[in-house]
Symmetry: C2
């Protein structure tokens, strides 16, 4: 029962509840690029990450994206259980940004658990509260931070995640992440290059002056 380590509320469940989970929990390994959830179709349920990196995002009719959250080892997400959250009317998509492994508890069982177990309900409420706070942070970024700061933050964060100063990505992908147009990203990256903060080549962005990027982030 390796998965019990990845479910923070496991020890507070009754033996009967633990048994029900054992009967239905699913382990999946997916390759980078796989879309694992689309809430307009099936509802995946609660997701508990073993390894890798997942990205949850919403998509506009004309194809623009906003990244809502990212999941790493030991993270749990309810965004993929949106069908058990009342009034959650958004189509949240989840895709693997790296090869990933995760457990999922189907939505129907999870709904029973959350309705009958105070521990699961409290855990879910706290998780939602975190998601809400993250979303407020994101909105603040979008509304109030100038784009140069946001882009600097994004590049530094990507660099930390990849553990590399050379990012293999396109301006298009960055624009999708940041909910803006490719041209806006290209313009700002060229400005960063002219300031010696990055070096642009086809398909890569090298961060050449981390201190300057960090100081931009903190202004």
């Amino acid at each position: 029962m390796e998965y019990s380590n990845y479910l923070p509320f496991w020890d507070k469940l009754t033996p009967a509840q633990q048994e029900k989970i054992a009967d239905v929990i699913v382990y999946q390994k997916v390759e980078k690029g796989t879309r694992i959830h689309d809430s307009s179709a099936d509802c995946l349920g609660l997701v508990a990450m073993k390894y890798g990196q997942l990205r949850a995002y919403i998509l506009s009719e004309d194809g623009r994206e906003i990244t809502i959250s990212r999941l790493f080892e030991y993270d749990v997400s309810l965004l993929s259980a949106s069908c058990v959250m009342p009034d959650m009317q958004f189509n949240v998509l989840i895709e693997a940004e790296k090869d990933s492994g995760f457990w999922s508890i189907p939505a129907c069982l999870f709904k029973n658990l959350v309705d009958e177990s105070l521990a699961v309900s409290n855990y879910s409420r706290n998780l939602l509260s975190s998601n809400f706070s993250e979303l407020m942070w994101l909105m603040e970024q979008i509304m109030w931070k100038s784009f140069d700061k946001r882009l600097a933050e994004f590049l530094l964060e990507e660099s930390r995640l990849e553990d590399s100063a050379v990012l293999k990505t396109t301006h298009e992908k960055i624009a999708n992440h940041m909910g803006t147009a490719r041209e806006v990203v290209t313009r700002m990256l060229r400005y960063f290059q002219s300031e010696g903060m990055v070096k642009l080549t086809r398909g890569t962005i090298e961060l050449t002056d981390l201190k300057k990027l960090e100081s931009l982030q903190n202004t």
Copy 2:
């Protein structure tokens, strides 16, 4: 115990829990314009509205605002209980937009309730889920809808709330609501006026062509 009608989880509480609430619940009447909550100071706790209209918003360092939600009769809010929600690191402010009356359950008691009552925990989780969904909706508005549509929606909504085609407000206030600059609002309102959709006078905006505003909203 008139307040019991305004607490949707009341009937699911134990007599002891009901008694605790009865001991500490506070009723307040406030005048339009009063700031009733500032989460950097005291934590108001759960709020249950009897009448009036409250607005919850966040504020940037340079004084710009984003309206997060509005509360009307029978609405309950946990945004004023942010200190009992883990990882909620935002300074949410709440002010009365109309003369209002509401009950509040202090944060410390509410925290005990939510931790020990499955009914209260589930209710709070569902409420948070709604807030989260609303915030996603708001972000979608900001990111993906062009400003003319958003402003048309805002004016029509205000008109419905006030039950009047004549809105007594300033461009500055609208800009604060929408997280943008006054100039942006003024420019768009002048465009609306040139199209015959509104008539601008000092301190008022009259909606003169609801159909046209509605069609703009729906494009």
